[in-house]
């Protein structure tokens, strides 16, 4: 990868595709403008990047596409502020900036031979979706793959086309749910909060790795369910998303106690998270 002396200088990337996931959540597929970088850019599932809309600034998101899919990367974000609103105004062919990949990653090699249980809610699917596709693209390396995904309403589910694809595949089990009242007449999934649905599903903890990502409230109520099911804290992984600016361990805002999410994370085991002060 081309190394810049200026660590704050982003790579330029072209928006190749724009996909509206929900009315305010958008996926951008990006292609690096530098041909060599396009070939050589590599990252691991779980790493994040700083994405910039020039004139507005930078925002931090995970790389939502799988490292097994070469030639492009994807990010997925909700337009809620100055930068994300500007990113949302970008059209196919427009140029944006990308710095990264940063942070640690899921230790996927340690998951070989294990069953995988993904538990996620709302816009927290993208940080796990990179790993889901990474694993599906290496399908024979894993045991059962189960995905429990919930959102407030049907409309808030992201990657709807991929949810259909996972539902149709026989080698992955998707359990989708919406909060009570969030279901329309056509809804064919479950109704209930993610922790409740997980409790009912009662997946076996045996030889299984749980990968959890969601809003703090979902994590808070999901961990006790996993514990009840017999999951060890070392077998539960999550990815934290504190506010960041530099992504390089310098600007001083993503720390949870003495842990720098940008350098020590964003991927942590439940054991690590439980040892942290409540600052995430």
């Amino acid at each position: 990868m081309c190394e810049n002396k200026n660590i704050y200088l982003p790579y330029l990337a072209t928006v190749e595709e724009v996909i509206d996931e929900t009315p305010d959540v958008r996926t951008l597929r990006l292609v690096f403008q530098d041909e060599q970088l396009r070939e050589n850019f590599s990252f691991r599932a779980g790493q994040f990047a700083e994405y910039s809309a020039f004139g507005a600034g930078e925002s931090t998101f995970c790389i939502a596409s799988s490292p097994t899919r070469k030639g492009y990367i994807e990010c997925c974000f909700r337009a809620v502020g100055r930068v994300t609103e500007s990113l949302r105004r970008l059209e196919v062919g427009d140029t944006m900036g990308v710095r990264g990949p940063y942070g640690n990653s899921f230790p996927i090699e340690q998951f070989f031979g294990r069953n995988l249980l993904f538990i996620t809610g709302g816009i927290a699917l993208p940080p796990l979706r990179t790993l889901i596709w990474n694993c599906l693209d290496l399908r024979d390396k894993f045991g059962d793959i189960t995905i429990v995904y919930g959102a407030r309403t049907e409309a808030d589910l992201v990657y709807k086309r991929e949810l259909r694809e996972w539902e149709e595949r026989s080698d992955v089990k998707l359990v989708k749910t919406v909060d009570p009242g969030g279901n329309g007449p056509e809804w064919d999934g479950k109704v209930g909060f993610v922790p409740t649905v997980l409790d009912e599903l009662a997946p076996s903890a045996e030889n299984t790795i749980a990968l959890v990502c969601g809003p703090p409230i979902m994590i808070k109520f999901t961990l006790p369910v996993l514990e009840k099911l017999g999951f060890d804290d070392e077998a539960i992984y999550t990815t934290l998303e504190n506010r960041m600016k530099c992504g390089l361990g310098k600007c001083g805002r993503c720390n949870v106690g003495n842990i720098y999410v940008c350098k020590d994370g964003p991927v942590f085991t439940a054991r690590q998270v439980k040892a942290m002060p409540l600052e995430y």
């Binding site: 002396k5 200088l9 020039f54 427009d94 001083g252 805002r253 600052e279």
Partner: protein, 335 residues
């Protein structure tokens, strides 16, 4: 290596440096205050007053450009700001509490990713420290393990002599090189006594004991007690020689502008605000706790250094009178 320089030769040396076109930065009067700024003559140098802001901005400016962008149609042209352009600088009259913070900052700007904006300036700067012969009631360098003539961070350390002039002790290769280049201005020490150094408040803090308490007391009523009056103005962080939190912001129009790095402060209410609105440090006591924890625990955990040099500036500028040395004493008593 130890040398001596007379008052007259010291002035001549400064003027020679300036005549040569050398950039010399030191404490000088700037409006109504003393700041570390480029000198234009030896007489600009103020040696008896602690500059209002710390020396960190010589390496880490309040605001600096990181890149320029220009949009043309769907394309964007980026202009890199190459750190190579930073000028060679002699930083003179640096107070021990300021100089000592520079190696502390080295740790964060050089671990893992290298911030060349900081490091280039650092490598191109010769730091000439100056021992303190005066102090005020906010100074507490002695309480955090430093002293009025601590040479930490200095390449060359000056101590004032009785009757004028200085003893100059080199602390690094850069300092030795400086003495060598300007050897005609220096003489061998003749045993003249130095001016008695100031002895700031001897409220010796036991940093180990304080850290041990911090290790165990993330949640503690003490934080509410100390920080409810903090107004979150961030002044303490801005005048601090060791605080280094920053923000990255684009300034300009949609078409053209600059990306800049700005000082920021963990005391600001939106500092850790998530896009969702969730804020892990939503209340001022949590933010003040982070300030103390970062300085006296986290930085130590990570880099084995304390992020405070006892300069006392935060005490002098706090609009609600929060006294960090007092806070540390309170914590120490609990430990």
């Amino acid at each position: 290596m130890q040398k001596q320089i007379s008052e007259a030769n010291f002035r001549l040396l400064l003027d020679s440096l300036l005549l040569k076109g050398q950039r010399v930065v030191g404490p000088r009067r700037s409006g109504s205050t003393v700041l570390y700024e480029p000198l234009s003559s030896a007489s600009d140098l103020v040696v008896d007053e602690l500059p209002r802001r710390s020396v960190k901005e010589a390496f880490f400016p309040v605001c600096e450009d990181l890149l320029e962008y220009r949009k043309e149609g769907q394309q964007v042209q980026l202009t890199d700001i190459t750190p190579d352009r930073f000028p060679e600088t002699v930083l003179i009259g640096v107070r021990p509490c300021d100089a000592a913070a520079i190696p502390v900052l080295d740790a964060v700007f050089s671990w893992d990713y290298k911030d060349q904006f900081f490091l280039e300036r650092r490598s191109k700067t010769t730091i000439i420290g100056l021992a303190c012969t005066t102090s005020d009631d906010a100074c507490f360098c002695t309480a955090v393990g430093l002293s009025p003539n601590d040479p930490k961070g200095a390449d060359l350390m000056l101590t004032p002599l009785q009757g004028g002039g200085f003893v100059a002790a080199s602390q690094s290769k850069k300092g030795e090189a400086f003495l060598d280049v300007w050897k005609d201005r220096f003489s061998e020490p003749d045993g003249t006594a130095t001016v008695p150094l100031t002895q700031p408040e001897p409220n010796r803090l036991d940093l180990k004991k304080i850290k041990a308490w911090l290790d165990e007391h993330f949640e503690d009523p003490v934080w509410d007690g100390i920080a409810t009056r903090c107004v979150g103005c961030g002044a303490c962080a801005f005048v601090c020689p060791a605080c280094h939190c920053f923000d990255i912001v684009d300034e300009g129009s949609e078409k053209t502008g600059k990306r800049r790095k700005f000082w920021d402060a963990c005391g600001f209410s939106k500092f850790t605000n998530h896009a969702s609105g969730h804020n892990p440090r939503d209340l001022q006591p949590k933010r003040y706790r982070n300030r103390i924890m970062h300085k006296f625990k986290y930085y130590n955990d990570k880099f084995s250094q304390t992020l405070c040099t006892g300069c006392g500036r935060c005490i002098r500028v706090c609009p609600v009178g929060i006294d960090i040395a007092g806070v540390l004493e309170e914590i120490q008593e609990k430990g």
